[in-house]
């Protein structure tokens, strides 16, 4: 029971203290306090609790801070969430000297917190020895010992060598395998770099290293897998590097050096341990292990490679240093062109190898064809297994200035194929460029000032044409001459005029005939008038019977003259018919016939009418005769 009470009291106190412990802390640590100028220091700043503001690093003359990463952890303790932030900062001095990083101040969980000031000594290059880590005692720069570096390519040997230094590197090591180990200048070497780690590899910064003897390519991406070596399980990160040697000889490939952040877990002394011990702390089994990040410079055994020079034997004279396995394609956008127009030749080299420095192939063309090279298009693909594959496309504009047939022929690009170890000449036949005259020349042809050249584009020989026509057919003209047309026009006019003339003639003739009839009619009328005068004298003299008889005969003779017949023999019926034919008005005709009947009755009956009546009849007949005559 008393133990029970004591534990309850202890629990109460723990709760009270845990509340006190929830107040934030700010710590700053350097990986070492002394070092050469070329090796940056690593400053680790740890913030426990909720900071009110962002981390603000002080500005110190000749000292640069580079933040390289941060991590954040959350933990729940007694129902409360605690937060922990760790910042990793590289500190690089610009010149040797002693520098002091002042106390950092932040407000954490509502209370001002500060870190201790730190002093670091920076020596000249190589003067400051590599210092032991003030915290862990591990060397700051670790790696495989130079003395243990093996020859390139032997994976197992490298692994054995690396295992000897595992303690120094926190279990992390780097191995690089390259193939082939004997290459020609310009041939690709593909290296696989494997970073082995037991799960504590946080991040890495590759240290740049250039060499004038190699070109270096790094494909994107990485491969991650696990591997068990000597019973230990390692995570493996594999990246690839590709080297293209520029000079021959026995060479060492530029190394792959990595500043790796390696996490180590350490058991820190807890400030509450004494308190817990005093109160029988064994009952509270707290594990206060905290992660710690170290930056370790990792490298691998050097890779020695034999770089062979390109053979002199069999080297084509136009060889311009293109090494790889390539194909050539070539095309021309048109094979017939008018002088002055542009033709474009496209040459494309593509395949395995690096072509960015490849020069434009030379075309052995006629000097009258001007050449204008376009900016080449270059594409590059870096593959982890195939290496560098590239394509370079040259576009050359040709402008022929004169007409003619120009043989472009074979476009040749000599290359060295490292696979076969021999030179090859890639070629493509572009055929013949037919240049026809430009418009200016064409005008000259039209004017006959320049002889038009014979053309050869059409290969037909006219086999399917029908043959020429014989000489007998060629002589006569198939067109009408001007004179013939004039003659035909004249005859046509005459032909057209003849019926018209006939019409005119007919008209005149009819008019003439009409005139004859009219004159005859006038004469008959005049004759009738004369008889009428005589008849009038008889009537006025009282000789009515004689007068009417003379008038009757005179009228019949008048009608006989008009009808071109014997008028005296005409009966009344015949007179009526004749006048009907002459379209004499019917009413008037009836009057006339009636009058003639009355006169005829007097002549044949002997009944003499009055003088007055006889004179009226004479007057009426005279009027009717005038109507017939007109």
């Amino acid at each position: 029971m008393p133990q029970m009470i004591s534990k309850l009291i202890l629990g109460f106190w723990v709760m009270v203290w845990s509340a006190a412990l929830s107040a934030g802390t700010l710590t700053a640590e350097l990986d070492r306090t002394e070092g050469p100028i070329e090796e940056p220091f690593v400053l680790t700043i740890t913030i426990e609790g909720n900071a009110a503001s962002a981390l603000d690093l002080p500005k110190i003359e000749n000292l640069q801070f580079y933040q390289r990463g941060s991590s954040q952890q959350h933990s729940i303790m007694n129902g409360k969430i605690s937060k922990r932030q760790i910042f990793t900062i590289l500190v690089q001095a610009e010149k040797p000297g002693v520098f002091t990083i002042p106390s950092l101040k932040m407000e954490i969980d509502g209370k001002p917190e500060s870190s201790l000031p730190l002093t670091l000594r920076v020596g000249t290059g190589g003067s400051a020895p590599s210092q032991t880590n003030p915290k862990t005692g591990d060397p700051g720069e670790a790696g495989v010992d130079d003395s243990t570096q093996g020859s390139s390519g032997d994976l197992e040997n490298q692994q054995v060598q690396a295992f000897k230094n595992l303690e120094k590197t926190g279990g992390v090591f780097v191995i690089r395998q390259c193939s082939p180990t004997s290459v020609y200048v310009g041939q690709q070497i593909i290296c696989n770099v494997r970073i082995y780690h037991p799960g504590n590899f946080n991040s890495g910064q590759k240290v740049p290293e250039n060499s004038p003897e190699f070109r270096r390519f790094m494909p994107e991406g990485e491969k991650r897998f696990n591997q068990v070596i000597n019973g230990r399980r390692f995570g493996v990160i594999e990246v690839t590097e590709i080297f293209v040697p520029l000079k021959d000889g026995e060479k060492v490939l530029p190394s792959f050096t990595l500043d790796a952040q390696v996490v180590s877990w350490e058991h820190r002394k807890n400030p509450l341990d004494k308190f817990f011990d005093r109160f029988g702390g064994g009952a509270f089994d707290f594990d206060f292990s905290f992660p710690d990040t170290k930056v370790i410079r990792l490298t691998h055994p050097e890779n020695k490679t034999e770089i062979k020079p390109l053979p002199k034997a069999g080297q084509p004279p136009q060889f311009k240093g293109i090494v790889g396995t390539f194909d050539l394609s070539a095309s021309i956008n048109k094979t017939q062109v008018v002088a002055g127009d542009t033709v474009t030749i496209t040459l494309s080299l593509s395949g395995k190898g690096v072509l960015d420095t490849a020069l434009e192939p030379q075309l052995g063309l006629d000097p009258s064809i001007k050449q204008y090279a376009d900016k080449p298009e270059y594409r590059e693909k870096i593959d982890r297994t195939a290496g560098v594959e590239s394509q370079k496309t040259f576009k050359i504009a040709l402008v022929p200035s004169k007409q003619g047939n120009y043989v472009i022929g074979q476009v040749a690009v000599p290359i060295f194929d490292p696979q076969s170890g021999q030179y090859r000449v890639l070629s493509h036949d572009l055929g013949t460029l037919v240049v026809t005259p430009g418009q200016a020349e064409e005008k000259l042809y039209a004017l006959g000032k320049v002889a038009e050249p014979s053309k050869q584009a059409v290969k037909e020989q006219g086999k399917d044409l029908f043959g020429p026509h014989e000489i007998a057919l060629l002589g006569g003209s198939h067109t009408l001459g001007l004179k013939a047309i004039q003659a035909m026009a004249a005859v046509s006019l005459m032909g057209l005029a003849s019926p018209l003339l006939a019409l005119v003639w007919m008209g005149r003739r009819r008019r003439k005939e009409g005139d004859i009839a009219g004159s005859r009619r006038s004469a008959a009328h005049r004759h009738f008038k004369a008889k009428t005068k005589t008849a009038l004298l008889h009537l006025e003299g009282g000789r009515c019977e004689e007068g009417l008889s003379l008038l009757y005969r005179g009228f019949k003779e008048f009608l006989g003259d008009l009808a071109n017949t014997q008028g005296a023999a005409m009966t009344l019926k015949e007179i009526e018919e004749f006048l009907k034919q002459r379209s004499f008005p019917e009413e008037t005709l009836k009057k006339l016939v009636h009058l003639l009947e009355k006169i005829e009755r007097v002549e044949f009956s002997g009944q003499t009418p009055d003088k007055e009546v006889a004179l009226r009849w004479l007057q009426e007949l005279e009027t009717l005769a005038h109507g017939v005559a007109s």
């Binding site: 290969k459 006219g462 067109t479 003849s498 019926p499």
Partner: protein, 263 residues
């Protein structure tokens, strides 16, 4: 006086004989050239044949068979444009000749542009079916003959009362020569203006006379073109069978036919 009259008559007679003689010499010279041209053609010397045929053409002889033979030689020397123009000219004067039709069709099959030597206009096309069957010379003669016939009939009808009916209805017969005259006019305006592109790389057709105008389209060698007007600034206005119009450099067009200088 009698002597003077005789001397004058003799002089006129001599002059007429001289003119006739010179004409005969000229005809004889043309015949010799044509014989040589045919011989050259038989031997396969087509450039020589072309030279001789063109010489005769320049002297003014218009003959469909001559253009036909010229077209064969042009084709054999791979001048498709000139061959097309020559066969088109031959067709103009020998519209019913099967050899001309066959060779024209053959050359047409060799050109890149599938164009016909006829306009897209439906009226022209319908009329041309009939018009194309005859030459202009034939139509003129037919027009002349029918005119004379109808005139004579009408005249007789007017003059002779016994056949008065001919005079009365003969006037309607004049419709026939008038129609034929219309066909002659159609032939005059439509037929003789067909040429062909002779430029081997094809001719650029612009919207106006000159390169400063918009480039409309390009005609390939041998394409038949209808010349719609007179040359202006070295360019010819053309129309093609699908109705497109434009201007092409005159030097790129081959044309043969009466009334215009061979290009």
């Amino acid at each position: 006086m009698k002597k003077l009259l005789l001397i004058g008559m003799h002089a006129v007679w001599t002059l007429l004989l001289g003119l006739q003689g010179s004409r005969d010499v000229l005809a004889q010279s043309q015949t010799e050239i044509l014989v040589s041209a045919l011989e050259a053609q038989d031997k396969g010397d087509d450039p020589k044949a072309i030279e001789l045929y063109e010489k005769v053409i320049k002297e003014g002889l218009v003959n469909g068979h001559l253009y036909y033979n010229l077209g064969i030689s042009y084709f054999k020397t791979q001048k498709i444009g000139e061959a097309m123009a020559a066969f088109l000219a031959a067709k103009r004067y020998l519209p019913r000749d099967p050899d001309v039709k066959a060779n024209l069709k053959f050359v047409q099959s060799k050109i890149a542009d599938k164009l016909e030597p006829s306009l897209a206009s439906s009226i022209w096309k319908r009329l041309s079916v009939f018009v194309d069957w005859f030459t202009k010379k034939e139509l003129i003669i037919a027009c002349f003959v029918t005119l004379m016939l109808v005139s004579s009939i009408t005249f007789i009808g007017l003059v002779m009362p016994r056949v008065e009916v001919l005079g009365r209805y003969g006037w309607f017969g004049f419709i026939l020569p008038i129609l034929l005259g219309g066909l002659v006019l159609i032939k005059e305006f439509q037929d003789p203006r067909w040429g062909a592109i002779k430029f081997q790389d094809g001719a650029k057709v612009y919207s106006g006379p000159g390169e400063t105008h918009t480039l409309l389209y390009t005609l390939q060698v041998g394409a038949p073109v209808y010349l719609t007007g007179a040359e202006r600034q070295s360019y010819l206005p053309i129309e093609i069978s699908d109705g497109k119009k434009g201007w092409v450099l005159a030097a790129q067009v081959a044309y043969f036919g009466e009334g215009k200088r061979d290009r």
